[in-house]
Symmetry: none
Subunit: 239 residues, 2 copies
DNA sequence: GTGTCCTATTGGCTAGGCCACTGATCCAGT
DNA sequence: ACTGGATCAGTGGCCTAGCCAATAGGACAC
């Protein structure tokens, strides 16, 4: 039959396209369901029997999906108790790194590599919505600092907004992978006296460059900003 | 109350020791069996029915084990054909990306982000051994091109050597994560007429900067090199 | 030779069931 | 009142049995 025709584009026949198996779709549905309902670590999934029925698959298939999610580190299935979400998510690399104790310099380097590029991309690709999100984060950080806070949340949102503005799935994922590691260094950095204000100024430079659509300036501003953060980490190393 | 007492051990009370589920043991057995018999990519595992019988488990359980191995990227299960070993082994993100078809521009961007930084780090940290490896790769590529080849292997080794010379575990792992994706673009790039020679020259610049210990020059050379590669990818996109 | 069809083989998925584990509850003993 | 053990409902673990769907390769017609 002509079933083949729809699988034969002009392209070089990249990789034997794999059929989606049911368990993959199920796993996908579950993860999106988790995201939609804003479930966090520790919360429970419905019982297998119920979940299987609700998704319209057999328990065996659901079980495969759970195995997949378990391997990836999204959930932990506990015999006799239930299926609970684990916080880590991507975990694999993170644990490996964290196991080696003080990898902070490496985290900074990686951030530098990824975010500098992302800033440049953001300058080229940001939409008005992206810009709005960036500015909102900036304002939140400013308000928090004015009120005597450290602006941690705004800081995080800012970098998240810039990452999103880069419009690169792969880079986005990589940032997500080391996201948790970054968060740890971030808190340390902003705990330094006077640091929040400096950080805010750095963010302004980045935001301006992105708004102006100047990739080079955005990259440089981001690089400088991350370098500043790294000072803190090094200080801690000395201590 | 004394409810607290159970939360206050002298020791950290490690982690809720998780029972090994059968599928884990099965997956373990399979991987060791693979290793023992020296099976390589492309070779087949026995049929599910037979394998299940031989391992003394049900097909359902074996299927779970295969899902786990599939998620990790050890095997590929093909409906109607069988279960074959895949060379890779990291896979998770790769498939997610590949599923979205033409992500080549994103791959290039990510390469640019990671490798540019790695080149700079390599310029600062390379040992004599690193330098030797880089030069060896360069020579291999040159010889291959002289002989009319495309220098694919040398190219790959070169980038691997630079990555190693960066001495950053995290960045190294991220490169490994997208390694296969890069390989695909590499082969395409070097298939362009005249491209291998240009590529070789680009590599020389990078190697020289690293040898000279000049991070900025190394980063720039790497960036230019990757930009050149990206041209090819874009050409392909047009076609 | 070439293309088509058939079929054995293999994985995909379901249904239904029993067993094992967990946690909460209840109850007897102290 | 408190402790400890027994019970029980709910949950996942695993199995058996079976049918469906995809693949590859050979038989066959041309």
């Amino acid at each position: 039959m002509s079933e083949l025709s729809r699988d034969l584009p002009g392209r070089p026949l990249p990789t034997r396209l794999s059929r989606t198996r049911l368990y993959e779709q199920v796993a996908e549905q579950i993860t999106t369901w988790i995201a939609d309902n804003g479930l966090t670590a520790g919360e429970r999934l419905p019982p297998e029997r119920e979940l299987a029925a609700r998704l319209g698959v057999s328990r065996a298939t659901l079980s495969q999906a759970l195995v997949a999610l378990e391997v990836v580190g999204v959930v932990a299935v506990r015999h006799g108790d239930g299926t609970v979400l684990t916080g880590k998510g991507t975990g694999a690399i993170i644990d490996a790194i964290r196991a080696h104790a003080d990898r902070i310099p490496e985290i900074i380097e990686t951030r530098d590599a990824l975010e500098t590029k992302l800033a440049a991309l953001a300058a080229q690709r940001r939409t008005d919505e992206d810009l709005a999100a960036i500015n909102a984060a900036l304002e939140e950080m400013e308000r928090d600092i004015e009120a005597g806070g450290r602006g941690v949340e705004g800081d995080e949102k800012f970098h998240g907004a810039v990452t999103a503005a880069g419009h690169s799935d792969l880079l986005y994922r990589m940032m997500a992978t080391i996201g948790e590691l970054i968060r740890e260094t971030r808190i340390e950095s902003l705990s330094q006296p006077g640091r929040p204000r400096d950080s805010l100024a750095g963010h302004r430079r980045i935001a301006d460059a992105i708004a102006a659509g100047d990739p080079a300036a955005a990259a440089e501003a981001m690089h400088d900003h991350i370098t500043m953060v790294s000072d803190v980490a090094l200080i801690r190393d000395d201590g």
